[in-house]
Amino acid sequence: MSATMTPAETPHTDLSATSDLGRFLVRRPAALIGLTLLVLQILAIIFAPVLSTHDPMQANALRSLQPPSWENWLGTDVSGMDIYSRIIYATRINLLISVTAVGAAFIVGVPIGLLVGYYRGWASNLTMRVFDFVQSFPVFVMGMALVSVMGQEIWNVAIALGVLFTPVFARLIRAETLSLRERSFIAAAKCSGATDIKILFRHILPNALSPAIVQISISIGMAILLTAGLSFIGAGVRMPTPEWGLMVSTGSQQMILGIWWVSFFPGLAIILSVLSFALIADAARDFIDPRRAR
């Protein structure tokens, strides 16, 4: 029995995760762009007072609707507020709402998805039917109704979006759990005396999490778009709070008159922000999925 097998062809060297990521980013310029945009947003959140040139909520009737200039880099809106400074400050509001909503949805949705995926029974079925139902409503319509009923506060926007995104995560984790629970390594764990808790959190969860992690980034992008849309129609954040959708809205009447900068730049901010999360999600999917990463 000298036939100890030759080790696998790939050498068993431990590559640190960071160097893997580094090489991955070099091969994926799109991911690098996404990451750079994200870093810029984080800088804007932290250093808003330093980066801005004006008080974002200071109206100035004398400087209403000024085009971009040395004084107001991206121009001013109807009430003479500096658009550049408002865009910088709005990063805080928009990302705060979106990240909170998606984070809450993730924290609530993941355990629910694990439980309804692992345990069969009427409770699991009922939960899924309720989720089906919530998801069958158009998200924007539902968000609009929830926010307008709960009251147009920043936190209510976050709560409404959190409620709407929870089924997304629960469903993803459930789908993974359903297939994982039939895999024989779960049966093997049972034979090894693993308890349900251990099976759920040490065996299933680590293997089920990847798509949900990708989904976080996708959902944050969607949440930014929804927040902006809600503010745009007047269901959400109110003036003079700096918020991208609201800023587009304040310029929407002037656009038709040729005063483009009031709406144009905040919209651009939305696009870049959503794009950064979409690019990161796209790259994360390839990075996590071993079939595509190789």
């Binding site: 307008s148 656009m255 038709i256 939305i270 979409a278 796209d282």
Partner: protein, 350 residues
């Protein structure tokens, strides 16, 4: 025993599509009840006295008492639901505080405008997304493939309201090519006689070419807006659905058997019909949500704009009615999607 045998015999003798419809239809009842319950709960979520909120500033002692009675607010939550349900069955969705019309009347008047917008947007979106996605899959690394990847990623990041404003700025304000972004038809023209509620169709039916052209040109910008924004996502989803089939073993095997490429593409298309039908159903949902924003910008006068007015004016009966109708609409779309899906997929047993 014998009885159940005959039932099952009769059942299996029915044509498959009929069986599918009959099996799926009863599901609609609990779903509808669910929708009704959710819209009912929605307004109960209001902090404070719903009657005061619903009547707003115009509340008088008398009107408060009347509405309170009308809504059955003095009873338990279940009896309140029952009252709400009964009113609903009779077509009573309450009275809009803003327009002072019965909500059901407002909604019915505005529904065709939204449906027309969504239908055309849907057709254009499908026409852009599906052929592009298929071409990109069949010819990987072609220009179309690369472009569709970039577009799929970028289009998902576009806020539809901003795109609409930009299109107005470029094509109306700057170049003056597009017609004014106000309403469905030139205010100088009278709307064609109501047949389908679609101005374009009704104008053609009435033989009114001028009205047709006007209605068509008014549709252009909002429809393009919706298509630009939504075709990216649809393109991505179609390529992944079609791609999965395109790379599956049986397609490979047909190629190895010398089946001509166009026949292989046709077989792959036939196979991707079920997922495409599902995607089209989702698209309806997206478009309905997006229409809310786009209608507002183009003063479209449809359900979406009505909903926005309801939100701004805290017109809760109107908002409640809109949510109900939107949800019912989506449920019916999903019903159709499910039925079509089962018809085109022989693997599903009925």
């Amino acid at each position: 025993m014998g009885f159940s045998m005959t039932i099952s015999d009769t059942w299996h003798r029915l044509p498959r599509p009929v069986r599918i419809v009959l099996a799926r239809l009863p599901l609609l009842v609990p779903q509808m009840l669910g929708v009704i319950f959710v819209t009912f709960i929605l307004v109960r979520l209001l902090p404070g006295d719903p009657v005061l909120l619903m009547l707003g500033n115009m509340a008088t002692e008398e009107s408060i008492a009347t509405l309170r009675e009308q809504l059955g607010l003095d009873g338990s939550i279940w009896s309140q639901f029952l009252v709400y349900f009964q009113n609903l069955i009779q077509g009573d969705l309450g009275v809009s505080m803003f327009t002072s019309n019965p909500v059901i009347k407002d909604l019915l008047e505005r529904a065709p405008a939204t449906l027309e917008l969504i239908t055309y947007a849907m057709i254009l979106t499908l026409l852009i997304a599906v052929p592009t996605a298929i071409y990109a899959t069949v010819r990987p690394k072609s220009i179309v493939d690369r472009a569709s990847r970039v577009y799929g990623l970028a289009a998902g990041s576009l806020p539809d309201f901003w795109v609409a404003l930009l299109l107005i700025f470029i094509f109306f304000t700057t170049f003056g090519i597009a017609v004014a972004p106000f309403g469905r038809i030139d205010p100088m023209l009278s709307a064609p006689e109501f047949v389908t509620g679609f101005y374009t169709l009704d104008a053609l039916l009435a033989g009114d070419l001028q009205a047709f052209l006007s209605a068509g040109s008014r549709l252009l910008l909002p429809v393009i807006t919706l298509a630009i924004v939504n075709s990216g996502a649809l393109m991505k989803m179609t390529s992944s659905a079609f791609g999965e089939i395109w790379h599956s073993d049986f397609i490979q095997h047909q190629r190895a058997s010398g089946v001509p490429e166009r026949k292989i593409i046709r077989a792959a298309l036939r196979n991707s019909l079920p997922p495409l039908i599902t995607l089209t159903g989702f698209l309806f949902g997206f478009l309905l949500g997006a229409a809310v924003l786009v209608e507002t910008i183009f003063s479209w006068g449809g359900l979406g704009q009505y909903a926005v007015m309801a939100v701004i004016n805290s017109d809760y009966p109107a908002l409640q009615g809109f949510v109900l109708v939107a949800a019912a609409f989506i449920l019916i779309v999903y019903l159709i999607v499910d039925v079509l899906y089962e018809i085109v997929d022989p693997r599903i047993e009925v």
